[in-house]
Amino acid sequence: MSQAVQFYLSTLLAYIGVDFIACWALNLQFGVAGILSFCFIIFQAAGAYTAAVLTLGPETPTSFQQYFGGAHLPFPLPVLAAAVVGALLALVVGLITLRRLRRDYQAIVMLVVSLIATLVATNATGLVNGANGLSLVPKPLSKGLGLSPYGTTYQWIFALVVCGIALVCYAVVHRITSSPYGRVLRALRDNEQAAVAVGKNPLALRLGIYAVGGALGAVSGALLVEAISAWSPSSWLYPETFSYFAAVIIGGSGNDLGVAIGALLVPVGFLEAVRFMPTIGGPQFLGALEWIAVGLLLLVFLWFRPRGIVPERRRKYPAS
């Protein structure tokens, strides 16, 4: 294979890993717990910023971008820190929104939280460099391995690392969904009154899964920024959340395998399809078409196959 093809394939592999993690994270929040997490993208953004800042190193007076809390941490640490930040952010947002509020109102509050986050990150330049975002994030592991970050060997190693982390995330997600905790969450989703009647605390249970989802979303963002070396507010505007929602709904919300298929179709598939399309129309014409397709797919699936390509398994439990 030529260098360019190898470069492309390894980058694609890293993207697939990142989108799998993001979709599994959203599936925990939306598919399993039924939370309309319309601010999901801010967890990915927070994770990306955390990882970027902790990889870039301390801000110097001469540096061209402004941010706070910079440090040089070796590879897995920025990702772990991102997970912590994502979980904390989810706890804060969850504590505000997940109280006894109609679910559509919850969704609206979360949507607005996403808008506020963009507004603040764009205008408060000292926080994470405003609208320009952060760039030139050093590639992780390249120094330790003694490889050039622009060589194909490094690319493949990094892609495999991302996939390895995705596998670990899958293990976590699968463990949660098949545990009694996952069962309680599904009960809450399907019949809240019944779950409350047998003594379950909806706020505490939902907050827990919301935080796990936030942490995994942040991990996906951290890996994404390590892969592409740059991150700015325009990469996480609120509609991005709905491309992940589309992936989860189309794949089959509540089903880990289905959601992975959805991730391959929507975020990965669309991105790549657009890349290979000839440039037609004005600027952003293809981008608009992409969103039209996402909207249509959502409507078509909600109407014809609301449970997705691979529907959630019907679980039977023996009477105790």
Binding site: G34, T97, V112, L119, G281, I292, G295, W303
Partner: protein
């Protein structure tokens, strides 16, 4: 002082536009409980119809008439073609909100695909400014304030002095009971969508009439202040929406005097979140309602 007067003037115009749009939004939401997030994109679509009208040299009246007409027809069709089938099939509140999001994505991106992501201006002659003491308004702005007041009076008269309005209020309060009393609720709901769409179209045209330029995202973003107004006034309460429009409109513009103008939008955002968390039933109403979607 000058800055304050200018901001006050902008605030009054913003309040008028918000009032037109929010009364339409809240009327429809109160009656059907469908969170029509596509309301903002429908405003944009109406604005682009008005743009086409001005490009065809139909002038201001052409823009207003075609924009309002489009809003009306489109809203009724949107309900009949998309929302109603989902509701009839038993879609729940949270599914409807995803449907509404999908519709929003469709409308705003179809506009973007057709017209591109650039900025547009209505091809109209600038109108002279008229002074009222220290306040100055253009003729268009005065027209918008007039339309807002007229729309409020008409909505009041419709709701309280006609049999149709009575039927609308009955349907909004208890659809099953209304149906059993012989009210043709489906037709009443159609009328609700039409009135809401008319106000939506007018609001969309008004919105782009006072801005120097607009793009395919203009109205889509306007949905948040509309939601803030509707929620502040109490969902389904036209008077609350009028009051809310004045509060949010003035607060948004006057806030620019004390905080950085970039954060102007945050006023509506924060109001919306705070009201939803503290008084989800709005400031005017007594009880929080738990309803399911109505068709």
């Amino acid at each position: 002082m000058h800055a304050f007067i200018a901001a006050l003037g902008f605030g009054i115009v913003t309040a008028a536009i918000l009032a037109i749009a929010s009364v339409g939004f809240t009327l429809q939401f109160g009656a059907t409980n469908i969170f029509n997030l596509a309301f903002g994109s429908t405003m944009t679509a109406s604005a682009f119809v008005a743009y086409v009208a001005t490009e065809a040299n139909l002038g201001l009246w052409g823009a207003v008439v075609f924009g309002a007409l489009f809003g009306t027809v489109f809203s009724v069709l949107l309900n009949r073609a998309v929302y109603l089938p989902f509701v009839k099939r038993g879609a729940r509140l949270f599914e409807m909100i995803i449907v509404a999001i999908a519709v929003t994505l469709l409308i705003s991106n179809i506009i973007q695909a057709v017209w591109g992501a650039s900025f547009f201006t209505l091809k109209l002659a600038p109108t002279p400014a008229l002074n009222f003491g220290a306040l100055a308004f253009t003729r268009d702005e005065l027209g918008i304030i007039g339309v807002a007041v007229a729309a409020m009076l008409c909505v009041h008269a419709l709701l309280h002095h006609t049999r149709l309005g009575q039927a609308m209020r009955a349907t909004a309060t208890n659809p099953a009971l209304a149906r059993n009393c012989g009210i043709p609720t489906t037709r009443v709901i159609d009328v609700v969508w039409a009135v809401s769409g008319l106000l939506c179209g007018l609001g969309g045209v008004a919105l782009v009439l006072v801005t120097t330029s607009f793009n395919p995202q203009t109205g889509t973003e306007f949905i948040i202040p509309i939601l803030a107004v509707a929620v502040l006034g109490g969902i389904g309460q036209p008077y609350g929406a009028m009051l809310g429009a004045v509060v949010i409109g003035l607060m948004t513009q006057l806030s620019a005097l004390v905080i950085s103008p970039e954060y102007k939008q945050a006023v509506a955002f924060v109001t919306l979140v705070v009201v939803l968390l503290l008084r989800p039933q709005g400031i005017l109403s007594e009880v929080a309602e738990q309803k399911e979607v109505v068709a």
